[in-house]
Each structure stands twice: as structure tokens, then as C-alpha cells.
């Protein structure tokens, strides 16, 4: 084909970028920064999504909560047997858990009651529980805590035990028997695992009741059918499937990154105007140069091409630079400051690593959000420059 790229023109364009460094540096700098911000937010939200995804993967397929008078309330444990009778249900496990508000630090711990024999409903919990001797724990009145919890308790001088205040105002002393590694997952960081007996005591619950019931189903395709049956059997129970949670999480994050993107759009628009303005204001020297180029035989097309190469090289360079910076910022430095916005402000959750989640689709997205907009902003100024009359600018 005759339309092959003219490398001399590309070289000229690079040269022109360098020669007018001052003007382009400013634009390039802002553009790099915008791309850096944009890609960092998207990388972070995607990484958190991925992390949540793996947490969700471990989630029970169906969670049953009982609602009385519009408020969540405890579930009678006998219902478990009736649930097991439903066809397609593989297991139904009653859970005893809740949040414990620790006033001095102003944070919530998730307190989970366990017993020695029952199977755990998530992989994470199972691995944790497998490593500990529940019977010994029960005997010595101990608990296992997540690293975040350990840190906070330590800061409040609870080195090896903690006094829970039970719902009837009594103190309940529980020893810290060990910690587990929070790197397993986001959810494990603020967790306290202790024997069910103690959990009942702390929450002041009747031992014939459970907080909720988690149900697993043999064939995932039958989930909706099972849900229907449960709803018929117990109209006071609300069923939450894994899919519901997944969608709502996804929505929250899309919403948050959507919010950022809307901000970004405002920035992008401003940027569009800045670029337009910067490039429209040609100095007399630049005008003269264009006049010379035309006089020695460049066509409008050649000038448009040369200017296009300039803006393409500049924007592509800024794009790659911005991406590299944000890769380093997000995965190297673990995105200080920015990640807090996405994680909520709980100081209990910061200590997990953002998993790497950049793929081709993401890079395409970032590219489409940045480079075409820059090029778009240069179209009219470029054309304006190319139609300058050689004989008028050179007198």
C-alpha cells in the first residue's frame, strides 16, 4: 500500500515536540496526572472487586435470616432439620455470630461462635478452624483473633485476654489463644473466633436459637427452586443468595468508580478546553514555520499528519507514563490515601494486599477514556494551523 507511515514525518514530529518542550510539557504533565488518577481509581476498585469476588466465592450459597416486625431476629434451631428435608439441600448450618462494638477504639469486631464438630460453611473459616483445637479452646476459655483485632486490643493494653461486656452487663473474660493471618482475605481481619458457648453468653442469646442459617445446595442450578421452597415453608425468613450479594457489591463499586468517573469527565472536559486553547494559540514563530513548510511543498494533509503524530506521540507517551506510575502506586505502594476512599474508613481493614487485576480489557478502557479525547481536542486547532496561508504568515 502507498499509505505507509512516513518515518521522517514522525521524526519531524518528535523533533517539534522537543523544540517546543515548554508548551507541550505543561499539557503532557496534566494529562499524565489525569491518567494516573483515573487508572489508579480503576485499578483499586477492580482489585477490591477481585478480592471481594474471592471472598464471595467462599460465601454460603443461601443465607436465611428471620425477620420479625421488620427487624432481624434469632432463628429457632429446630428449623435446620426441616430445611434439610427439602430436596436439593446439601447442608444447613446454624450460625451464631454478631458484631461487638469496642468503644475505646470505636470499631466493630465480628464475633463468630464455633463448635468442635460442625463443618464450617466457608473455605476460609474451615482452614482457620482446621488449625486449632476447639476442645482445648473451650476448656481454657480462649479465642482466636484476626491480626487487626490483635493490634487494636494490644493498643488498648489487652495483651493476652479481653473482657467482653455481655448483654446483661456482666464482664466475660476471654483469653487470646492465638491469631490468624489476615492475608488470607479481607473478611478475616476483624474477626474473633470463639466457642459457641461463649458467643451465646456474650450476645445473651438462648442456646436453642441461632443468628441465621446458611444453606448449601448440591446443584447450583437449583438454587432458585430451593429458595422458592424455603420461602413457602417459612414466610418469615428472608433468603439471600450469593448472587444477590455479588450483584450488590458490584453495584456499590461500580457506583463509586462511576462517581469518580463523573468527576473525571468534568476534568476531561476542562482538559479538552485547555488543550484546545493551548493549541489554538499559535505563536508567530509557529505560524511562520507552517508557512515555510507549505512554501517548500508540504500539503495541508502533510501538516495535519505531522500535527497528528505530535499529539498521538504526546498522548500515548503520557498514557503509558500515567499507567506505569499508577501500577507502581497501586501495586507497589498499595495506594496510600486513595484506597481508603474505596474501603470505607474503617481502620480495621487496611492490611490486605491489593491483588493484581489488570487485563487487556482494562487497558483498552483506559486508552479509550484518554487518548481519543486528547486527539479530539487537537482536531480543530490542527486543521486551523494547516489552513494558514503561507504568503500571509511570511510577510
Amino acid at each position: 500500500m502507498k499509505n505507509k507511515i512516513n518515518l521522517f514525518l514522525v521524526e519531524y514530529a518528535i523533533n517539534a515536540l522537543v523544540r517546543r518542550g515548554g508548551k507541550h510539557f505543561f499539557i503532557g504533565f496534566i494529562f499524565t496526572f489525569l491518567i494516573f488518577l483515573l487508572s489508579s481509581t480503576l485499578f483499586i476498585s477492580d482489585a477490591i472487586k477481585l478480592e471481594l469476588g474471592s471472598a464471595l466465592h467462599a460465601l454460603p450459597e443461601i443465607t436465611l435470616q428471620r425477620f420479625v416486625a421488620g427487624k432481624q431476629s434469632d432463628v429457632p434451631i429446630q428449623r435446620v432439620d426441616a430445611l434439610l428435608d427439602i430436596e436439593g439441600v446439601k447442608s444447613a448450618i446454624p450460625r451464631v455470630w454478631g458484631y461487638y462494638y469496642f468503644k475505646p477504639a470505636g470499631v466493630n469486631f465480628s464475633v463468630i461462635g464455633m463448635d468442635a464438630f460442625s463443618r464450617q460453611y466457608t473455605q476460609t473459616l474451615q482452614t482457620i478452624v482446621d488449625g486449632i483445637d476447639m476442645k482445648a479452646l473451650e476448656k481454657e476459655n480462649g479465642m482466636i483473633v484476626g491480626e487487626g483485632v490483635k493490634k487494636i486490643l494490644g493498643a488498648n493494653y489487652y495483651q493476652d485476654f479481653f473482657n467482653f461486656v455481655t448483654s446483661d452487663g456482666q464482664w466475660k473474660k476471654v483469653f487470646i489463644a492465638g491469631t490468624f493471618n489476615a492475608s488470607i482475605s479481607l473478611e478475616a481481619n476483624d474477626m474473633i473466633l470463639l466457642p459457641k458457648k461463649i458467643a451465646y453468653e456474650i450476645f445473651g442469646m438462648d442456646t436453642t436459637r441461632a443468628t441465621d442459617i446458611v444453606v448449601s445446595v448440591s446443584n447450583p442450578k437449583e438454587i432458585s427452586m430451593v429458595v422458592n421452597k424455603i420461602n413457602l415453608l417459612y414466610p418469615d425468613m428472608r433468603t439471600i443468595t450469593k448472587d444477590d450479594i455479588r450483584v450488590s457489591y458490584q453495584n456499590i463499586f461500580d457506583y463509586k468508580s462511576g462517581f469518580f468517573l463523573s468527576l473525571f469527565m468534568v476534568c476531561a472536559f476542562t482538559f479538552f478546553i485547555i488543550v484546545y486553547d493551548k493549541l489554538s494559540g499559535l505563536s508567530s514563530e509557529e505560524k511562520k514555520e507552517i508557512g515555510i513548510l507549505k512554501a517548500v511543498g508540504w500539503s495541508m494533509d502533510d501538516i495535519i499528519k505531522e500535527k497528528f503524530y505530535e499529539s498521538f506521540i504526546l498522548s500515548l507517551g503520557a498514557f503509558m507514563l500515567g499507567i506505569c506510575f499508577s501500577l507502581f502506586f497501586v501495586y507497589g505502594l498499595q495506594a496510600p490515601l486513595l484506597r481508603d476512599i474505596f474501603m470505607g474508613y474503617s481502620n480495621l481493614k487496611p492490611s490486605f494486599n491489593l491483588p493484581f487485576s489488570v487485563d487487556g480489557g482494562m487497558l483498552c478502557l483506559l486508552f479509550l477514556l484518554s487518548v481519543p479525547i486528547y486527539i479530539g481536542a487537537t482536531l480543530i486547532p490542527t486543521w486551523r494551523a494547516s489552513i494558514l496561508d503561507a504568503d500571509e504568515v511570511m510577510r
Binding site: 521522517f8 523544540r19 512554501a295 500539503s299 500571509e392
Partner: protein, 222 residues
């Protein structure tokens, strides 16, 4: 070779209309050396830029080498210009922040020739006008005479058939002007048509000049 027929050129700006050329006709043959003289503002530069296709007449036609250059679309007139016309400007009009060599390459860029060929041509003209030793220096640090030679080298790098020179001696001293005359003479002997717009009397009694046209208020008077 070059034919201007009934050319009229009117510049319209917001406030007024300036008639730069009224009814000009001119004929320059192959290998002819033609001098346009006349007072400032008489329209000499305008004639040159019409011939180069850089501006378009308000009426009339400009034929160069059998082509009506004023009616060519931009791509074609640019193509035609870089193949056939070498322009030497009054103020050199080099790109000050580029090196000598890069300035001379500029007209060759749109052609997208092989690198070796480009190097060859640039080297040739630089040697011909003895500026090869300055190839990598930036143009704005050169002396006036050197800049003039770079401008000429740039105009000739495409081996044009027509040279258009607008006050080429305006910034040159007597010896440099004489040097330029010998270059023009040499080109003329190679069969190049030359049109010079000037009011430098040096041109008026030169042996190699074939015709002298005087312009006044946008008309050719003799």
C-alpha cells in the same frame, strides 16, 4: 513554461479591499532569467506566490508547465511545488531551531524517499554551497551569508525546474551578492528558469538576465 494570464488579485480583509494585482500577464520561457523590479508594494511578492501556488488569484489563470496551478487541489499543488519550484525568500525563512541539515531535509520529508537517497541529496547540495562543515549547527547561530546559502540549498535540494527568489540580496553584502549571481548563472546554464523579484540595481545590467519587467501599483508597465 510559466504563463500568467489576466491575473487579478484582491486581498479582502474585514475593513477594506486591497487590489494587489490588476490584470497582469507574464510569460517566462524554459531557462529564462526574468527580473521583476518595482517599488515596494507594487505586487512583486504576490506574483511569485501566485506562481508557486501559495495563493490563488481572484481571477485569471496561472499556468506552470502546462498545468493550471491555481486550480489544483491543495495536495496536488503542494506536490507540484515541491517537485518543480525552489523558493528563496527575502528573510531566508529558515526554521531557526533546526540544524542546517534538518532545514534542508524539510522539502524532502513528504516524499518519503529511502533514507540513503535523502542523505545523498542533502550531502550534495551542502557541498555545492559549502556549508557541509556546519551541517549539525543550529541555523540561528549562523551568519547571514551562511543562512542565505542554507536557504538556497533548501530550495535546490529537489532539483527544481523553476527558482523563485524574493529580494535574495536584501541582506547580503556586495561579495555575497556576487556569489549569488554566479550561482544563478550556473543554474540558468543547467536549464532552470529563474524569476527574481528585487529592487537591487545589481540585477539590472547583468549579462545573464534575459528580461526585466517593471511593476507599478499592481501592473506590469514594461
Amino acid at each position: 513554461m510559466i504563463m500568467l494570464r489576466d491575473i487579478r488579485k484582491v486581498y479582502t480583509s474585514a475593513s477594506e479591499e486591497v487590489v494587489a494585482l490588476k490584470n497582469i500577464s507574464l510569460h517566462v520561457k524554459v531557462g529564462e532569467f526574468c527580473v521583476l523590479k518595482g517599488a515596494s508594494g507594487s505586487g512583486k511578492s504576490t506574483v511569485l506566490s501566485l506562481i508557486a501556488g501559495l495563493s490563488k488569484p481572484s481571477s485569471g489563470e496561472v499556468m506552470v508547465d502546462g498545468k493550471q496551478i491555481s486550480k489544483l487541489p491543495d495536495t496536488f499543488s503542494a506536490h507540484f511545488r515541491r517537485r518543480n519550484i525552489g523558493f528563496i525568500f527575502q528573510k531566508y525563512h529558515l526554521i531557526p531551531t533546526l540544524s542546517v541539515k534538518d532545514n534542508i531535509i524539510v522539502p524532502l520529508i513528504p516524499e518519503n524517499l529511502p533514507l540513503a537517497q535523502i542523505e545523498q541529496r542533502v550531502q550534495n547540495v551542502m557541498e555545492k554551497f559549502s556549508i557541509a562543515h556546519k551541517a549539525t549547527s543550529m541555523v540561528k547561530y549562523l551568519s547571514g551569508g551562511e543562512q542565505q546559502r542554507v536557504a538556497i540549498a533548501r530550495a535546490l535540494v529537489n532539483h527544481p525546474k523553476i527558482i523563485l527568489a524574493d529580494e535574495p540580496t536584501a541582506n547580503l553584502d556586495a561579495t555575497l551578492s556576487m556569489e549569488l549571481m554566479t550561482i544563478f548563472e550556473m543554474l540558468k546554464n543547467e536549464g532552470v528558469s529563474i524569476i527574481v523579484a528585487t529592487h537591487d540595481p545589481l540585477f539590472f545590467d547583468l549579462a545573464c538576465v534575459d528580461s526585466i519587467k517593471e511593476m507599478k501599483n499592481g501592473e506590469i508597465v514594461s
